[in-house]
């Protein structure tokens, strides 16, 4: 066994052990913390699988933003532990225990199906390297995301907008002032924010630019932007209302509109949707990625507030 595969085995066992532990514990805070470490280990796994774009995205979004969302939602809940198990009848207990072999059978079926089809796809496989070569970006993942499968990306952004509207509608309509935090943020956090946020914005710009030729791109840049927005919110340097008021909505709509415009711009020339003209393909991809970066950053940042402020804090509820 090579050192690489030994490392892989340890990683795999740790992933499964973390997943089992976080789903069998009764303490929700422990589950959330284990989930964040699970996300970080998964980022290492992506690096082992030769997918640096995924590693960047999972570390930033999967562990970072999702972890922040969970912690914010956990803070809004009243009790930190799961409910005591209610007394269950024999039938219920039998149903619960039968879930284990059923899920194991599902995993077994998937593995069996996978073992039956070990050869790479004969239709798509030979065509792919040539198509990536001819695409608008040098990094293969960006080429697939924004040129070969740009339609999927467009629809994905539409789904993000739907999620944003969903998050907004779940937010409880508060009175005049937003619910006050229990105590002001630490001076250290404020200073760190002042130092880190400009660097983070610069880093987002670099990731956007580098996405054409290296691992990077709009999603990772948008995640870094969302992280800096969340940091600003936590340090109370940014009022939550500023992310959902009219200028923010205008920017969000404009960014999405730009993507749609670029997509439809080829129609009047008699070509199919999202067919970039040869000379301008590279520039168009960069423009679309810029719009995507802004969009993803704003959406993920706005979703963060809505998770944490949907109900009054306990201190205010009692008074």
């Amino acid at each position: 066994m090579t050192p690489g595969s030994a490392f892989d085995s340890i990683l795999a066992v740790m992933l499964l052990a973390l997943a089992w532990r976080m789903l069998s514990t009764r303490d929700l805070f422990q589950a959330v913390v284990l989930f964040i470490s699970f996300g970080l280990l998964l980022a290492v796994v992506w690096a082992r699988l030769g997918a640096p774009d995924l590693a960047l995205a999972d570390a930033a979004i999967g562990a970072g933003v999702t972890g922040a969302l969970f912690l914010a939602a956990f803070g809004s809940l009243r009790s930190g532990e799961a409910a005591p198990e209610p007394p269950e009848s024999t039938a219920e207990r039998l149903a619960r225990l039968s879930a284990v072999p059923l899920c194991a059978a599902l995993a077994g079926i998937i593995l069996w199906a996978r073992a039956m089809s070990m050869a790479p796809s004969p239709v798509l496989g030979p065509l792919l390297p040539a198509a990536v070569e001819a695409a608008a970006a040098t990094s293969p993942v960006t080429a697939v995301l924004l040129d070969l499968r740009a339609w999927d990306t467009l629809l994905e952004v539409a789904v993000l907008l739907v999620a944003l509207v969903g998050g907004w509608s779940l937010r409880r309509v508060v009175g005049a002032a937003p619910t006050a935090v229990a105590f002001p943020p630490s001076q250290l956090l404020t200073s760190l924010t002042r130092l880190v946020v400009p660097v983070a914005v610069f880093l987002a710009g670099y990731l956007w630019w580098a996405g054409s030729t290296r691992p990077g791109g709009a999603f990772q840049a948008g995640a870094v932007l969302a992280a800096s927005l969340i940091l600003l919110l936590l340090a109370d340097r940014l009022a939550p209302g500023r992310l959902s008021n009219t200028p923010a909505r205008a920017v969000t709509s404009a960014a999405f509109g730009l993507f749609v415009l670029v997509a439809l711009a080829s129609l009047p020339f008699g070509r199919p949707v999202l067919d970039y003209p040869e000379g301008a393909a590279h520039a168009l991809v960069l423009i679309v990625e810029a719009a995507l970066t802004l969009l993803i950053g704003l959406i993920l940042g706005s979703l963060f507030i809505d998770g944490s402020r949907t109900m009054d804090r306990r201190e205010d509820a009692g008074s």
Binding site: L54, L77, L128, L164, I296, G307
Partner: protein, 95 residues
Amino acid sequence: MIWVVTGAGLLAVGLHGALVRPHLMQKVIAFNVMTSGVFLLLVGGARSVDGAPDPVAQAMVLTGIVIAVSATAVMLGLVCRIEAMRGKAHLPETE
């Protein structure tokens, strides 16, 4: 191959957790574990013609990660709302 097994295992563990655990937030965590399992299946099981990492699978998973976080955000908003309206965030609903 080990990642395909891990992905299937995560999918099974996540599904079991989503079915069995009564607390809603833990169900949301379980859904996230399931999505991670599926992503591992996609990327770990993908194979390009010349042995290079498959960019199509990676692009799909990248899209999936972003959608998973937005779905999680909406789910968590729902959980907080349910707790605000019913007083508790765990099943059974009537007690």
